[in-house]
């Protein structure tokens, strides 16, 4: 399934942005993955040094191999789930609306939609050393009623997106006013 099918793109609609979190936000997961990958090797070396005869028998050897295998497969699964959680948070901006789809774990997903002409405030927020250095941060979009708020989390060039959103919102508002008249 492609993005236009996912959002059921209208004939007059044009996709302006498909935004995801900055790849740097996924780096802690990669580091954790590498550390966890090293754990069985370190444990094996420790046990082998302290109790050299431990893995000589069939039973400890089989149990050790099966446990290590289960541990590694669990790490892969955990890493894959983390990636899906990271990669499936998507914010799609068209010339008509904003669609916010967020993956929360494996079995929870929420989708919020907001018409551009309803946008009241757009705030770009960049906090912290990494975010400032690598130009990523949050963009908060709220409507007049404040009932709906969409946050683009850790997206690249938040200020540029904010400016573009404000301009698109103004354009869309003019289009809707003309339609009413």
């Amino acid at each position: 399934m492609a993005i236009p099918d996912l959002i059921k793109q209208k004939p007059y609609e044009k996709i302006e942005y498909v935004l995801r979190r900055h790849p740097l936000t996924f780096v802690p997961n990669v580091i954790l993955f590498l550390v966890l990958m090293a754990v069985p090797v370190i444990v094996f070396l420790l046990i082998n040094n302290l109790y050299p005869d431990m893995f000589l028998g069939d039973i400890p050897f089989v149990l050790g191999v099966l446990l290590a295998s289960i541990f590694y497969l669990s790490i892969y699964l955990f890493f894959y789930a983390q990636f899906v959680d990271y990669y499936l948070d998507i914010w799609i901006v068209t010339n008509d609306r904003i669609i916010d789809t967020e993956q929360k774990g494996l079995f929870s997903r929420s989708t919020t939609e907001l018409d551009l002409y309803r946008i009241q405030d757009v705030t770009a927020n960049t906090e912290g050393m990494f975010k400032t250095l690598f130009h990523y941060g949050d963009v908060m979009i709220s409507t007049a009623s404040n009932n709906t708020q969409i946050i683009f989390k850790d997206v690249l060039n938040p200020n540029e997106i904010r400016e573009r959103l404000v301009r698109m919102s103004d354009e869309d508002r003019i289009v809707h006013q003309n339609q009413k008249i």
Binding site: M1, A2, F61, V62, Y72, Y76, L77, Y80, I90
Partner: protein
């Protein structure tokens, strides 16, 4: 004395493999159905499945010559005969 054969652990492992397969497919299904199948997601999926295949291979090659009929003692009454 209560003993179980070693192959019981192999069945437990196979059961875990089924869980692993189901969750991997669910993850991949999410990527496909949300329009997120790109070069990046393909690379990560390929990386995960390649690692999984390597792990299966090493597990299989290490356990190839094991006698699965070996019995493990789970409980033996003699362990407690001389404790007092």
């Amino acid at each position: 004395m209560f003993t179980i054969p070693l192959y019981i652990f192999l069945f437990v492992y196979l059961l875990y493999l089924c869980v692993f397969a189901v969750f991997s497919v669910i993850n991949f299904y999410h990527i496909i159905t949300t329009g997120s199948f790109s070069f990046a997601s393909f690379c990560i999926s390929f990386f995960i499945f390649a690692l999984a295949v390597l792990t299966f291979y090493f597990t299989y090659s290490n356990l190839l010559d094991i006698n699965w009929q070996t019995r493990i003692i789970i409980f033996n009454g003699e362990w407690f005969q001389n404790i007092f």
